[in-house]
Symmetry: C2
Subunit: 234 residues, 2 copies
């Protein structure tokens, strides 16, 4: 989908339109991409590309300043941060990430919402706005899988998940792409979240045994322990 | 115009859409607003609101962290910066501003391009994306007018403009709303920009005498001296 956010060019009128366009990737387009590519192929590609990005990271070519943001108690407890990236010479992307623990209960939205804005470094034009919520969850899952591939035993079968919200789904997905998992033990401080986990994970099509457990049992049993939770904002 | 950038909500499917919307104000919508309100009324309102904002500024209620950004020589000399704002409790806005001196020649675009992104502090949802190029020029002009109203003689008649690009138009406009200008002396290092100034300013409907001059003459003659230029990026 291409929209018509257009930039001005100088002309005899003070407000004239050029033909510059801004590409919008909404949740509808993201869903279409997922349906066409497939969740597994998308996660495999994400893991492969993120592995290359970590291996080849050159801080003189890829500038990633420390994130900044606003952290607050009103209107609700929350945090909005910006994560700028300059991949020289042709990509500037700013990822905005919101962290609002009351989102699920208040708005039936994920705790973490995200938006990607891409700017053309040659002109400063906004070249794309992309719904980053699913992509952020995908990337975060992929990063966990990469770390576990380096740190965990390759024959790990039991995954322990502390925190069973939206992020836990892509953690499970990514880890299941790298390990032959047979069991998943989950814990969440909100029991309704624990109980809905298996249904929410069903879209992954995994043949793993999902069980609710307490943290002590998870820590004692799991081959890989994955946390997707946070106590305080920040 | 309302678009369909939608955020995910938790559900049995890992990618489900809620009814959250993102408002887009493209150059077409901005132009429509200008046509309906009128340039003069818009500038008067901008000057009035900006004056109030300066007078009432409370750094504990309006958080304006120092801008950060990327400054570079490739692909062309340029700068992209982010200016976050938190107007407690209900507005988070990030203004992205690009400064690319080669824009007019290379792309027939203004040197300064800008995008406003608004996020809902209660959820982190992207609530609006607004073409900020004209609005930035408008606001910069208004700020000059406010400063001149405080610093210049009220009977000032001659305006000197050093730099006659896109920004100079709104500088002239704002100052003409606050002073009874009779003459405008302009200088630009690019003669084609100087020569096109009067035609570009025609949309303001002013009855001022516009003349190209050298900087020494401008400095000697002007009652108000306004610079809208920059030597280096940054």
């Amino acid at each position: 989908m291409t929209s018509s956010i257009q930039a001005r060019k100088p002309s005899s009128s003070s407000i004239a339109a050029s033909c510059l366009q801004t590409r919008l990737l909404t949740i509808a387009e993201i869903r279409q991409i997922v349906e066409q590519i497939g969740l597994d192929a998308l996660m495999d590609e994400m893991i492969a590309r993120l592995t290359r990005a970590f291996e080849q990271f050159d801080p003189t070519e890829t500038l990633v300043p420390v994130r900044t943001g606003f952290s607050y108690q009103q209107p609700h407890v929350g945090l909005v941060e910006w994560m700028p990236l300059f991949q020289k010479p042709d990509q500037i992307v700013v990822k905005a990430v919101g962290y609002h623990p009351q989102n699920p209960e208040r708005y039936r939205l994920p705790t973490v919402l995200s938006t990607l804005s891409a700017y053309d470094p040659s002109s400063g034009h906004l070249s794309a706005v992309i719904d980053g919520t699913f992509l952020t969850a995908l990337r975060t899952g992929a990063a966990s899988a990469i770390a576990s591939r380096l740190l965990a035993r390759p024959d790990s079968r039991v995954l322990g998940l502390i925190g069973a919200g939206a992020q836990a789904i892509t953690q499970l997905h990514a880890l299941a792409r790298c390990f032959d998992l047979s069991r998943v033990l989950i814990f969440d401080s909100d029991r309704t979240v624990s109980r809905s986990f298996a249904a929410r994970a069903a879209c992954l099509g995994l043949t793993v045994d999902i069980q609710i457990a307490d943290t002590a049992e998870i820590v004692a049993t799991a081959d890989i322990l994955c946390t997707a939770t946070s106590v305080d904002v920040g």
